[in-house]
Symmetry: none
Subunit: 195 residues, 4 copies
DNA sequence: CATGAATGAGTCTTCATTCAT
DNA sequence: GATGAATGAAGACTCATTCAT
């Protein structure tokens, strides 16, 4: 009789949006943005094509929303790695990266595919540059605290290595010695005497 | 209107093919594979759409041919870096990578976009895995000759760093301190006492 | 939360209906029937899409209701122009037309757009033909009373001119010399000696 | 073996374009621009949907092309009505209009529907205003030569009547006394003593 | 060897309409 | 009486591919 309450509608909407975003993430990760059709996403999300346009004004907007969502989660993670001991913080930082790679492989694939299309989406470039700079600064500071020589250069190498490892894992999958590399990286940079 | 000789035909063929491949490389690098249409390539190459199907049975086939072409060139390069001094070989290897990044930026962009779509093209995966393994083996051997501890692990880190540096350069472009990283990498691994 | 009384409901109904019709008229006039969506109308009227279907079984039905509403108003107007002096009646008739054109421009735009789609809506054609015939008959009678020769033919010309002036005003807007034409028309047909 | 000659291609293209324009004119006239789909046009023209985009970059462009085509034809017509005797020229002008209305009814319907959507297409407004002004100027000059008083005002009335007659014919079709009105108009303005 | 007209399947997007609440 | 989430059919447009010449 009476219309649905605001809360009911909110719930319904959020559920649909979540379904759509989840489906989109998975499909974008597996097939890539261009090769994923709105119809694909709608089907996987269990909604109609039309509904998608109630929540996202288009495919690009959907992508942006997805990225925003991932971004929020990431902020939380970064604040969780801080420790008084810089060695420990750095270790947490590395471990977090490898854990994410293993547990949320799909997100990583999604992001790396996105970065490969960086020229197509301005907001991706800005986001990526910001991320990179923050990462370099953090690692440099940690390395300096630990007592490394050339902390900035080492941070650049590490940032490169971290990214590269991700890409190679993406390529080689289970053939990539992820654990071995993880352990070595930690041993080298977090367990050293002073270097 | 005497018929063209076989040699003339051969020449025309090769010129057309080269035009097409060159146009395709550039467009794939700039716009990506999916967003580049056959019409785009034909126009840039100065040939008709129809002609493309004389030489390549389809868009995928064209991609494969392009990759093969790049691959051949690469073999030549690898043989040029060998030196009796492993330190020198490693340095050549690094320098070659950075030089390629600078001089043939487009190829690198093309390849990284391709790798991001690795699941879409089986032949890309195989090629990439092969490359990776060869690279690791080479670097590991060199590091061992030079006298590094954990040569395999270091090779893995280096391979990661090299790849990651490429991706970050792609992202940051002129903002990336390419020369600085290059010099540091060489200093660290090729100019050391023994490590 | 006592239930609303019948009168209250009636009032609410009528207010909603009036809102919807008003919004529809404006949007149909500005954007045209096809380019106006139900969502547009609902938003402008401040009601939900669903509610519209309580009152009108569909978009076409809404159009028909709108037309009916306009039609009622028009009947009243026609009865207000009658005068014992046919010259005066004709003048009233002309003045009313120009006044409507100026004051209710939107209605005129709406109607002319509708007539342009006459084949799409059967009820529009019937209505329009009826209007035309009545108009011709009235003007013919007046002209005969005034003493014009060929009153029927003149009525046809006048009917054409009246319509055409409307369309041209629609086209040229403020560039059209509406007042000038109005005055001339009245001078020519209502102020003459006998013609 | 050899590709089609330029002339062959030209012929093929022109035939397709003509088919498309013809089909579009008919459908736009009958169903209106908005209610005619590209698929409708393609089917009627006997070509594929895709082909339309080889020749027209979109539906709007097709409309513009159609209008241009009609416009060209019209220029020829206008130059054919001129005569040394202004009475004769005016008569030709009237007769041409009625002839067009009868023989190319479809064009007229098309144009009047277009004018009703004048706000939607900028180029339509400009075209229409230009036409109107030229027409008024011509008729005014003729009336002045013939010796009418108030030639400008009469020209305005005539222009209105001409347009209005067209719209009413469009509405009433065979019920409209086209011939009768035509004859009266000519008698009144071209056969008079002096007015 | 070479062309480009033509096709049609597939894509994104819009919107009238339904219906559970 | 009222809401707005959801649907699905339909429309504009793109593009890899075919084929007559």
């Amino acid at each position: 009789m009476s219309p649905r309450s605001k809360e009911q509608n909110e719930k319904i909407r959020n559920a649909s949006i979540a379904n759509i975003l989840e489906a989109a993430l998975e499909l974008f990760a597996v097939k890539g943005f261009d090769s994923t059709s709105i119809a694909n996403i709608a089907e996987k999300a269990g909604v109609s094509k039309g509904l998608m346009y109630n929540y996202f004004s288009g495919k690009d907007e959907l992508l942006k929303a997805l990225l925003d969502q991932l971004n929020e989660g990431e902020s939380d993670m970064m604040s969780s790695i801080m420790d008084n001991d810089p060695r420990k913080t750095l270790e947490n930082c590395f471990r977090l990266f490898f854990k994410e790679l293993r547990d949320n492989y799909q997100r990583w694939v999604f992001i790396s595919k996105l970065v490969a299309q960086i020229d197509k989406f301005d907001f991706v470039r800005e986001l990526a540059i910001g991320k990179y700079n923050n990462y370099i600064l953090l690692v440099e500071k940690l390395l300096r605290s630990i007592g490394f020589e050339h902390p900035k250069n080492e941070a650049q190498l590490i940032a490169g290595a971290i990214d590269g490892i991700g890409y190679q894992y993406l390529m080689l999958k289970e053939k990539y010695p992820l654990k071995e590399v993880e352990n070595y990286l930690i041993k080298k940079y977090c367990r050293n005497e002073n270097s």
